[in-house]
Amino acid sequence: MYLKKLKLKDFRNYSQVELNFSPATNILIGENAQGKTNLLESIYVLAMARSQRTNNDHELMRMGKNSAIIQGSLANRLGTTKLEIDLNLKGKKAKVNQLEQAKLSQYIGKMNIILFAPEDLSLVKGSPIVRRKFIDMEFGQIDSHYLYDLSQYKIILRQRNRYLKQLQQKKVNDLLLLDVLSDQLAAFGAELIVKRTKFLKDLSKFANQLQLEITHQREKLALEYLSKITLPAANDSPEQLYQVLKKQYTTHRDKEIFQGNTLYGPHRDDFKFIVNEQNVQLYGSQGQQRTAALAVKLAEVNLMKNRIGEYPILLLDDVLSELDGKRQTNLLRAFQQKVQIFLTTPSLNDITRQLIKDPKVFRIQQGKVVVEQENQGGKQG
């Protein structure tokens, strides 16, 4: 799918803008603080009905205004769909072909996008919680059963932690209840680990393809599930894992009571990025870490294509400048032709400019947009 047209009114620093995009690559070029990311943000809001940067919709309205409108024409397999998001102080309205949608959840999903922002680099460098959140978010979108198991797991975990604390403070002494809570936790924990492992395997496959492409076949990427407990070699049976977790809780019961906390389980797990047999979190260069984060995040493009039968739109916020020239071009080559790309950059060097096939270049200056270079097939949109 691709975005043909975008119309903004009073969004961030744009008072009124109407743009026609190329179905291939669109480059938003401009100095700092001119509104490049704001333009990407407006596309994000059009797709997700909320901003990736803020929860306060008032910030999205132009200074001194109390409303904002984003309209877009989206081309997909079925034809052209008109999408619209109206923001005002009372709330927001989402419209599909001028028809207001009763629920935002009905609206979200009409336009599929994947955004890569500089913050996403923390996927590799950040703490394990960033990676767990990534898995839970991405996987939860695909598998509602996973989401259910996760929510049950979290409730039982809270109960168990509270009970361990009560045992630690000697307020209670019934170990049978602890056993029951351990078994419950182990049952849902086993399901989560099995599903996460499988999801990582799928993701790893797509991410590796991308990593190879971006690095010109020089770097192989694998994702590996990391757990504090020794998992069975082929952990694809929840039943077997359930026994392993159960045993873990029995063996370390005194330790957990002493600390008053659940020390083992998927809520403590992580995954690592292995590039050419080496843990890139520990031994990788900045550039390698960035490439790995990018490959994993962009592997979602292919996962989504598998799921919905169409490529999503790719938003790359200031990502090129993080990579060397070769990696930049390989990255773009992996996606251009197939996926509509929007990318922001303060400047484009000539090499990249030549390598990007037929881009449409927009120069952004103080909330005004000028088409600097029309793509050859520019009239097709």
Binding site: H145, Q159, Q184
Partner: protein
Amino acid sequence: MQYPEPIAKLIDSYMHLPGIGEKTATRLAFYTINLPQADVDQFAAALQAVKRNLKYCSICGNVTEDDPCQICRDQSRDQSKVIVVEDSKDVMSLERMNEYHGLYHVLHGVLSPMEGKGPDDLNITALVKRLQTHPTITEVIVATNATPEGEATAMYLSRLLKPAGIKITRLAHGLAVGSDIEYADEMTLYKAIEGRQEI
């Protein structure tokens, strides 16, 4: 200006009830002023009676006027089965079914460390004692809710009672009667498939 004291007190009393805030309490209080004297007397008497005349059955824990309760006294009921429920309201729901003629046991809650409810805070000791003194009981049906806490309680009871050789069963999960598969959520369907039966 403040409300006259009798009204303020009544508003405050109404606010002790669950789900009633200040606005609703005020409306109820002013409505009470306009009620006929007889209705108000009846209301007050009912409120006091519920506290004065009701107690918990010493055998099953259900609310009752007389101890033991009607169900526990009824010898014509099936003395071999006990359904364990979270609270007295659940007994009424199950009785309305008119199909079950066994006994009940009310726990007054579920195991939830978060709310400070452990085994000692529930009516579990009485259940164990009851099973010891009534060997006629051969099956315990656990009918706690399908929440993580309800499941934990069911598991706890089964671990506790199974060693004594008592049959412990749990209510089935799955499709609601008369419902469309089309409208069932994924988890309900999953549970329904898990608990499928041969026909």
